[in-house]
């Protein structure tokens, strides 16, 4: 509990910090030289741009500098623009307008001066400033020998993070510097822009930035080279961070738990876990193998050693490797692999599914179009092979329909075999049949409208599922309740008596209200309604009768209109005509005057009364709801008030108060007066399409512009990013047709949208 509180606290702090940052973000303080030097604090870094008043040529730089204010602030570096007014000249104020420079101070000591053209954009500013500040943490090397020297010096002591970037000041450089800012004290960072250095460590692909992890700490023999792991993801701050985190994890972990329960940093980073299954007897050899695998898979997977003997869970006899993918819900894979290389290649092949990178996110989104996201459709599909005890319900056909429903009281489910909702409900329907088996109440029948379309149409069934009750001498009634076992059972039970029941005496009425009348039914009904009328109120009685018939199956209604009705009306303080509502579970009886109410009004009154009991059930979903309100979920009980109709604010009853009536009333009063703050506001978004659709019109247009008879393999290639295209040139050559997706409201905005999203994501990384 205490730990989660701490998390909560941190959350708040975080939010506050951000708000603070945000307010500062866009403002670049403009100070006079004197004022500026007054603000400098010992040990704190500060970047200042000195400029002459009213020099327009530097506005582009100033824009970039403004951009850099926030990221630099995150590293504790303040930024200012210093206006060189005539009265206060400073030696930093250049003599000519075009030789203005930016200066980096720590305290009031000048660290570095930057000509503005080296600080060409926000990335360059951040990169240069951090580079200057982290002079010791990041060694800049220009020759392979330099690198070799650093490596030799650190063997057995410290690991190295070596990176190559094409130039100083580009985004990759910034990413490396940002990583160095965080990890600089733990690892030696080495940076180069020289291709020769990169080539010296055997890298072939020199076009892009590279990050290597040199495992020098493990090296004991100084003649031995440090093992190296290449980061395979694109160079970004986030990826470096994740990469380092995996490097930090122990090379090999021994576990004795069920692999299903094991979780390490690797899984969180989207990397798979490889369990090498060994035995106590061959422990040494197994461990050596596992270490070997672990070295090979550094940065690609977590490797664990699992001893079969020490485990309670059963692992298939033959399996020697267990692979656990990062995506949750994926089953464990039990493998038989007798070669380390096989294990490595297996992991490398599966890794593509779990990599964290920008491409992967897009791929995932793309795949989703074809992935079922309708919970009913998906669950019904997954359950399709389960045999239901369908024989408990009578399957009707065109020939048997009429004879069956006229021969006995029957309930008919109209469904369509291909329609998920009706197939989901069929399960509940069969459950009802199971529960009612042997109790001859009503015949449970069903008809598949996919086969007997005409029958369904004749019965006025145009949607699925529909349940109708056929009783001799009455029009069929459509069931309008919850599509579930309990509700339908109740409907069947309550239909065994026809309502409203005519109550003959005061004693009978009392029995009726106490639930003793037809006890079995009353308990499943929960509420019984008794209409009280004086014998002369014929119209009112008629209306009530109609309402009772209408509500047949949902509530038990009774009517009492004998001469001595006043005994009851007096007892329950009711003014005739009135309804008495007996809530059996609470043993409570309330009265509602219904003078002047017609059938429709009565139905409404009774339905509203029933609604009060609606959803007062225990449901595990409650936890999900509370998660939406609180983070983390506080200990129960929790009292929450949700304003669903206006605004969607959620208010929580203060957790330090006990839930007592006076406290509650006070709280509610405060709420009414607007004195309480809401804990959250429910999102008011519309329910938009969860995913786009294929834009076939667009594809047809594209095809008619470049007519080809048939594209052999039209594959998904939503990504139409020019920049990335080159990297995938060979791949896209075989995939000609871009499968565009469709969002009607936003024609032709896909590309724009992708670009925007990309840049957004980029922002998040910084």
């Amino acid at each position: 509990m205490s730990s989660s509180c701490r998390v909560f606290g941190a959350g708040i702090c975080f939010v506050i910090t951000c708000i603070f940052c945000k307010s500062m973000a866009n403002s670049l303080p403009e100070l006079s030289p004197q004022k500026y030097f007054d603000t400098l604090q010992p040990g704190k870094a500060s970047l200042a741009y000195f400029c002459q008043t009213g020099s327009p040529s530097t506005s582009v730089f100033l824009e970039e500098l403004k951009e850099a204010v926030k990221p630099l602030q995150d590293y504790g570096i303040s930024v200012a623009k210093v206006n060189c007014v005539k009265e206060e000249t400073s030696r930093y104020c250049g003599k000519e307008k075009d030789s203005m420079k930016a200066y980096l101070f720590r305290g009031n000591i000048l660290l570095r001066e930057f000509p503005t053209d080296t600080l060409f954009d926000v990335n360059a500013i951040v990169a240069h400033v951090l580079f200057a500040l982290l002079f010791n943490e990041v060694k800049y090397v220009t020759t392979p020998e330099d690198l070799q020297n650093v490596e030799n010096a650190l063997k057995g002591k410290e690991n190295i993070i070596f990176s190559y970037v094409r130039a100083i000041g580009i985004p990759e450089h910034r990413a490396v510097m940002e990583a160095a800012f965080v990890y600089g004290t733990m690892y030696q960072f080495v940076l180069t822009t020289e291709i020769a250095v990169l080539e010296s460590i055997g890298s072939e692909d020199i076009e892009y930035a590279h990050v290597y992890f040199f495992h020098c700490k493990l090296v004991l023999d100084l003649t031995q080279q440090c093992q190296r792991t290449l980061m395979e993801q694109p160079l970004s701050t986030l990826n470096i961070h994740l990469f380092i985190k995996t490097m930090k994890a122990p090379l090999l972990t021994e576990v004795t738990e069920d692999p299903q329960q094991v979780s390490t940093v690797h899984l969180q980073l989207g990397l798979p876990l490889v369990f090498i299954v060994g035995r106590q007897a061959t422990y040494e050899a197994d461990r050596t193998t596992a270490e070997w695998v672990a070295r090979r898979l550094l940065g690609k997977a977590g490797v664990l050693l699992l001893l079969r003997d020490s485990l309670e869970v059963n692992i298939p006899q033959h399996a020697n490797v267990v692979l656990k993918r990062a995506d949750k819900g994926a089953p464990l894979e039990f493998l038989v692999l007798h070669d380390v290389e096989l294990i490595v290649s297996r992991v490398e092949n599966t890794a593509h599914g779990g990599e964290i990178g920008e491409n992967e996110n897009d791929a995932a989104e793309e795949a989703d179009i074809d992935t079922q996201d309708d919970e009913v459709a998906e669950t019904v599909y997954r359950d399709r092979k389960r045999k239901l005890p369908l024989q408990l319900t009578v399957e009707l056909t065109e020939e048997t329909f009429n004879t069956t429903v006229t021969a006995s009281d029957s309930m008919v489910l109209f469904y369509a075999g291909w329609q998920a909702v009706s197939m989901a409900f069929l399960q509940s329907y069969v459950d009802v049949a199971v529960k009612l088996e042997g109790t001859p109440t009503v015949l449970l029948a069903r008809i598949n409208c996919a086969d007997w379309s005409d029958v369904c149409t004749k019965q006025n069934v145009t949607e699925f599922p529909v349940v109708k009750l056929y009783k001799a001498g009455r029009n069929p009634v459509s069931y309008a309740g919850m599509l579930g076992t309990e509700a339908l059972l109740k409907f069947i039970q309550l239909n065994r008596i026809s309502c409203p029941v005519t109550v003959m005496s005061v004693r009978e009425a009392e029995e009726y209200l106490s639930g003793e009348f037809r006890e079995d039914l009353a308990s499943s009904a929960g509420v019984s309604v008794l209409g009280l009328f004086s014998p002369v109120m014929t119209a009112a009685k008629e209306y009530f009768s109609e309402a009772g018939k209408y509500l047949q199956g949902y509530v038990i209604t009774g009517i009492y209109s004998e001469e001595d009705v006043s005994i009851l009306s007096n007892k329950y303080a009711a003014t005739l005509p009135a309804l008495l509502l007996a809530r059996h579970k609470e043993g409570r009886i309330e009265s509602i005057p219904v003078a002047g109410s017609r059938t429709q009004d009565l139905v409404q009154i009774i339905t509203d009364a029933l609604l009060e009991t609606f959803e007062r059930k225990k449901t595990p979903v409650g936890r999900g709801i509370l998660q939406a309100y609180f983070d983390p979920v506080p200990p129960l009980p929790v009292l929450v008030l949700v304003n669903l109709h206006a605004g969607g604010q959620v208010f929580a009853f203060p957790s330090d108060q006990t839930i007592t009536e006076p406290n509650l009333i006070l709280w509610l009063k405060k709420l009414e007066a607007g004195l309480e703050n809401h804990i959250t506001i429910l999102p008011a978004q519309e329910w938009r399409p969860p995913l786009p659709a294929y834009d076939f019109l667009n594809m047809m247009d594209a095809a008619s512009q470049h007519p080809t008879r048939k594209v052999p393999e039209c594959t998904k290639e939503i990504e139409v990013q020019e920049n990335d295209k080159e990297q995938h040139e060979d791949r896209s050559a075989t995939r000609k047709e871009p499968a565009e997706t469709l969002r009607i409201k936003h024609w032709n905005r896909n590309n724009w949208f992708k670009a925007a999203k990309k840049s957004l994501r980029h922002d998040k990384e910084l």
């Binding site: 179009i369 379309s453 969860p690 949208f753």
Partner: protein, 691 residues
Amino acid sequence: MGLSAAAPLWGPPGLLLTIALHVALSAPPATPLAPRPQDYCVLGAGPAGLQMAYFLQRAGRDYAVFERAAGPGSFFKRYPRHHKLISINKRFTGKVNAEFNLRHDWNSLLSHDPRLLFRHYSRTYFPDAHDMVRYLGDFADRLGLHVLYNTTITHVTLDRDRQAWNGHYFILTDQKGQAYQCSVLLVATGLSVPNQVNFPGSEYVEGYESVSVDPEDFVGQNVLILGRGNSAFETAENILGVTNFVHMLSRSRVRLSWATHYVGDLRAINNGLLDTYQLKSLDGLLESDLKDLAILKDSEGKFHVTLKFFLEENNTNQSADSITLPQDNSDNFAMRVAYDRVIRCLGWNFDFSIFNKSLRLNSGNPLDMKYPLIRANYESRGSRGLFILGTASHSVDYRKSAGGFIHGFRYTVRAVHRLLEHRHHGITWPSTELPITQLTNSIIRRVNEASGLYQMFSVLGDVVLLKENATAFEYLEELPLLTLPQLETLTGKKAENGLFVINMEYGKNFSGPDKDVFFYDRSVGHTEDAWQSNFLHPVIYYYRQLPTEEEVRYRPPYWPLPRPTAIHHILEDFLTDWTAPVGHILPLRRFLENCLDTDLRSFYAESCFLFTLTHQKLPPFCQQGYLKMQGLASTESLRQHGVESRLLRDYAAMGRHPKASSQEPGDHGPVSAPLAPGSPVQSLDSNKEEL
């Protein structure tokens, strides 16, 4: 071959067919009998006439059918000459859905009586024409249709009258001089005039309608057949085994129905001659325009083919033997052999002769009198209130769909009847109104069972009219697609909030007489390639507003409808069963969702409950079900699958292992709770970014 090379040398087109209109004009209005008034007059008690009579009868309308023969379907007593119908009588489909089964029943008319299905009348796949006569007789009798048999309408004219429904009455006169005054005239007389081509020597040619059907009469003969339709091949098929050879001559190349996907083209059942031609067994096919030919009879009574050009060159009075033959110049001319018989099988034309000029009923093309000119609603262009039904109405979809055949026009007749019900009786086009959550279901149901959509593909289509805010819709079945611009006036429905049109189509570039329809990879199997589907498959068009007349007229070539706002193809299916949850239904749902800008998924009550308390707004499924206390409860087994699929969250387990769940990646934030991959909030967010 040699002959086609000579083809360009034709002379000026002469007066080819002067249809005997004067015959009709000269018929005297015999008696002064007062015309009998009738709301609807149907000409002809063939399949189309009886079908219309059925609908009029069911609607309780005042109507009469006029039939010159003593019983219905007299055409089938004589035709096809060899009595084999090429409309399939598929009695078994493995399905019990009556509507679906009509997709493969090409002979039955529509009725409510299941006994009146053709499969009860014949066990043969290609049934005998006499069974059709028997069937039509039963159809008229059992349903008690008002047919005046032995009544030949000899003359139809127009009587202007402001009181009349259409501003005029149609006055029909029968052979006895009895006149009938009709408010609406429904012409279902079919095509009854054999098509003849005039060329020198055409008098030697025997017609399909009268040629012998006894193979004995052809033993050891050389036979030339003019024409290349089913009647020509049917005739050839009958005599193939006894002749020396059969040559078939026509203007254009053979059109095989399995390549053109048009049932009126040459059907495989008749195409035995293609085999023998390609296997060089003396029979053969030739292409040439008949108008350039001449047929000469020599002294032995044998026939020679020559060019009209040679005849004109020479003096017409010369004896046949001295006229130049093509082989005189080109000694390997293909048709240099002499024929014993020449048979004409050139199809049929509409009989325009009984219609007075004032009706302005014409074909629109004096060179082609096959069909009368009609509008998309089957009404004559010349007179309001005059509709053409059945085979004669095939101009609308000639060589495209099935409107010229029973299995097609039974639906177009129904469409015409529905239009009339609205025009004259204020009964709007039948429709069902449903909540938007039922939209995907309604479409899936129809594309899987509807027979009218299937048979009359690209001519009749279903229309979904959206209600305000797209919370509900009205579903209209089988509207003539090209009447879409007039939908509101024709059906009495409003289309103010956008509409979907559901059509069935073959691939755009798939069908044609010269197309290889068996090419490798002819069918596609991936949802993203659905637009390239070749075989008949459902296509859904979305329009923000009704297309205009202009848009329909200038629609892109080969498009059945104007360019929509968005289009969806449901992936073609080998079994024509479009109910695959992911392959068919899911992409359709996504399309509809994106057109309507809403979320059409279904949810269990639990999820709806969660949304109710965590969102200000609910998805339509919860609004229309759960909020009305009609939510869908899940069962234990379904819930488990839901958790496994990660579409439902396991709240119970969450309670037990709070830590495990907090580590779950992609599970941040309270709002993305129950639906991992496509959680609504996630999509909402992405949508926002896009805006």
